[in-house]
């Protein structure tokens, strides 16, 4: 094991941090808040390393000798990945916010001790997936995220439905990763090589079957229709903070690993683009239509998340199909804004759930009067998702339109039509949701139950407020963010 250690340093920090934090908490019986502070420290450390790493990208981007691990044919190699750094920086930032949020959110749960390490491990797995250069290693790290994430999903094990959700996630993801395992078999059978860099050797149909298996596995983890069925259950019943992380970062980041693997394994860019764009349409339609009649707030957000996955796939798909770098940039920008908005939406929904004990939309009618700030934040998130101007979502929409119209091709324009349709249909979901918060309910259930205006904890207000500000900021002044994304996009093009 030699090479540039700083490549794997963040992974080490995260995994090591997870154990250290857990041990400290167990040994000294630290409180939930303390543990969350410790986790924030770990994450902050990771963030610093990641940012430094990110700043170094221009130096190593075109140097194949920068790696960590053994350079032998079957050795495990970690390579720096610019896109991964970008995504992980967002992921870790959001991780910090949800950790802060959990400092209050989990305070009623005695089992907080394992919660934070699990988050750290999930992020470590994700980071590993981006940097790992070996298919088998990739599989292992995928399993790591799957297992930790399903543990997080089923965190409230006393609720039957949470268990069901966690179980569903575990089973489906495992099947997905098993398919990836099958893919590894096909690839290794033909080439005898599992490295993602360097010469691959024979390129026959078995390799392509392997690639198809990987495509399927990542699709499942990203929640591509028709493999989206776990999404509403999981996001709807996992702890809200976890839903934010999963929906905002984890599942969508799979779409960025997918091309790296698939293009390497013999799927052409056009094929990948076609796949992404076709299934993007399904995602957009299914997500926006099924969003309309949801009873549970977070289930509602999950379907909106399926639609957002579709938007992201549409942007990336155009990028591959037309070899349009700009569209890849659109994909990255969408990832950023969706992560921020989705996380905000889930966190705000979690605040409602935490204080009212319910995420039933009908029961939450008129809740805006009781928690005005939180209602404003959720409204900002939803309006942003709906693409209202001066919020982050609109800039994303504008970029998607620009990219699609730039291609001026019937396929892209047809998908754009679906995109427009979906965004109009989803308005029928977002707007009533925003309105209902402020609507005077005919049966003010919450008030009848003697529910009074709660003091929302600062631990929760801080991340929610920060994310709201960010949504508005990206909306009003997207320039720096677009510059950032364009930079990453160039690296992404270079590395693919």
């Amino acid at each position: 094991m030699t090479g540039y250690f700083e490549i794997v340093l963040p992974i080490f920090i995260l995994i090591g941090g997870a154990f250290v934090v857990y041990l400290l908490v167990r040994l000294f019986k630290l409180s939930n808040r303390t543990e969350s502070m410790l986790t924030v420290l770990v994450l902050a450390g990771t963030l610093v390393v990641l940012v430094m790493h990110y700043l170094d990208v221009p130096d190593f981007i075109d140097r194949p000798e920068v790696f960590y691990g053994s350079a032998e044919p079957d050795g495990i190699i970690y390579r720096p990945n610019a896109v991964g750094a970008f995504i992980l920086i967002i992921g870790v930032m959001i991780g910090i916010l949800i950790t802060l949020y959990s400092a209050e959110y989990l305070s009623r749960d005695p089992r907080y001790a394992v919660y934070y390490p699990l988050i750290l491990l999930t992020l470590a797995g994700l980071l590993g997936m981006f940097t790992s250069n070996n298919l088998f290693n990739l599989f292992l790290l995928t399993e790591l995220t799957t297992v930790t994430a399903s543990a997080l999903v089923a965190f409230r094990f006393r609720e039957k439905i949470s268990i069901r959700a966690g179980f569903k996630y575990l089973i489906m993801s495992s099947l997905g990763t098993m398919t990836m395992m099958l893919g590894i078999y096909f690839v290794y059978r033909s080439t005898g090589n599992m490295q993602l860099m360097g010469p691959l050797g024979v390129m026959d149909n078995f390799v392509r079957i392997g690639a198809a298996c990987f495509l399927l596995g990542f699709s499942l983890k990203a929640g591509v229709v028709p493999l989206h069925t776990w999404v509403p259950d999981v996001y709807g019943h996992a702890p809200s903070a976890v839903s934010g992380l999963l929906a905002g970062v984890l599942s969508k980041s799979m779409l960025f690993i997918m091309p790296v693997v698939c293009l390497r394994l013999g799927i052409s860019e056009v094929e990948l683009g076609t796949y992404l764009m076709v299934f993007a349409c399904f995602n957009m339609l299914v997500g926006s239509v099924r969003m309309l009649r949801q009873q549970q707030l977070r289930r509602f957000l999950s379907f909106s998340s399926i639609a957002q996955t579709g938007y992201l796939m549409f942007g990336l798909g155009m990028g591959f199909y037309y070899e349009l770098d700009q569209a890849l940039g659109v994909g990255l920008f969408l990832f950023l804004v969706i992560a921020v908005m989705k996380c905000l939406a889930f966190l705000a929904a979690g605040v409602y759930e935490y204080y009212t004990g319910s995420q039933d939309i009908e029961r939450l009618r008129g809740v805006g009067k009781l928690m005005p700030l939180n209602a404003l934040s959720l409204s900002i998130a939803l309006a942003g998702l709906a693409g209202i101007p001066l919020l982050a979502g609109f800039n994303g929409k504008w970029l998607v339109f620009s990219a699609a119209l730039l291609t001026a091709d019937a396929f892209a324009l047809a998908c754009l039509g679906i995109f427009m349709l979906s965004s109009v249909i989803s308005l029928g979901g977002y707007l009533p949701m925003i309105i209902k918060q402020y609507q005077e309910s005919p049966q003010p259930t919450l008030e009848i139950e003697g529910f009074s205006q709660p003091d929302i904890s600062k631990w929760m207000l801080l991340p929610v407020g920060l994310l709201s500000l960010l949504v508005v900021l990206i909306g009003i002044y997207p320039s720096p963010w677009i510059n950032l994304v364009n930079q990453v996009m160039q690296w992404m093009v270079m590395s693919i």
Binding site: L390, L405, L416, I482
Partner: protein, 491 residues
Amino acid sequence: MNPYQILLSGITILPVIGVIILLVWRKATKTQAAIIGIISESFALVIPIVLLTTLRKEGVILFSVPWIPNMQISFSLELSWLSITFLLTEVLATLAAMIYSLGDKDGEKNSNTYYALLLLFSLGMSGTTLADDVFLFYIFWELMLIASVLLILGWGHGENRFRVALKYFIITHLGSLMVLVCLITLYVNFGTASLTELVLHASSLPINMQVFLTAFFIIGFCVKMAIFPFHIWLPDAHTVAPMPVTIILAAAMLSMGTFGVLRFPFTLLAFESIQPFAIWMMIGGLISEVYGALMALAEQEIKRIVAYSSVSQMGYILFGLGTLTLRGMQGAVMHVVYHAIVKALLFMVVGIIIAVTRERDIRNVGGLGSKLPILTVCAAIGVLGISGMPPLGIFNSEWMIFAGGFDSGVSIVLTVMTLIGSLLTLVYGLRFFGMVFFGVQKPETLPEKSPRALLVPTIAVTVFLIIEGLVPGPLLEWATLGLTGIFGGLL
């Protein structure tokens, strides 16, 4: 950057300051909030008037600061003769509505937010008329929509206001999306969002694409103009909205669609790409005119009658635009202004009728003529005005529109039908007037006295209508300058 350009930006910035004051000073009473609103809105009235002389000297005033440089998007405003006409109409309508709202019962709860939203609504419209950047245009365009939807949601009447607001938002948004497609097509094809630059290049696009863009633009803006069959949002939204909002919706917001048609397809694209749509616009205008009038004739709810008459009047405007002649379009622009005044007047009258009788069904109202003589005179002038009785304003614009119809040389029959169809306006206008003011008095005792605070702005608008009708010169000149600014010597 000279002081005039900075002054120009004040039209958009000063109302924002008003909004901030309103949002910060939560304890203001309704009157105080209204006064803040009126003061900040009147800046938007004074600044263009101050800029008139400069505009006359320079023809156009530009204000531009970079906003999102890597997307070639800037915060740029342009005051031209075309935009100043629409801008002043919109600001005056808003001011009238705000003054009217002082005596109105709506907006008593959360009056700060109410006036802040009214200001934002108006800001959206002034921004739409001024924006010189497609991105900025769309943002203002949506701001106008969102503010009005929020106003309907928060202060609307009736249980179904949520449904209505949703319908209004979604249908109008569909139109906006069509516009957005066109805007972005222009933007990506030339890599610039600035309209000043797009004007120079846009007509070099392939002609097929331009035809396509024109179709999308016109349909998209027709949704805003509430042309049949895209009018379905209008009657509900007008009925449910609080009265001042209805006034702004009907008097100002509808005409933004007209501005859009003039500003985008007509200004940017080649004349040849618009010509295929001329006859369809004329036919659409005719259908809308007749259809709206018929609906107004059949409708029983007072506000809806006046609301449907907007559908009819927008038909004239579309017809005028469709003639593609100077006179037709002058007529359309003038019709926008006159329609704004008359429609504001009629809605004010309707508001007073509703306030006095607490009835919305015209069958339950009657014989108010002897009780409310001043209102009767105002209503009579409004009804005569909308039916195109000279010398009240709408006659002038209808005359130009019909003349344009003949000038277009498309079909004499079509224009004659439109002309004779305008008789229908008289039919429903007189039905409305007769049912409300003649016959046995209903309800027998009026629950409320005639509110003076509502009557004063109504009389003021009536007087303004008569003056505007008698002195059409300046308006005609502005419309001419604005249109020749677009078409140059083409017409």
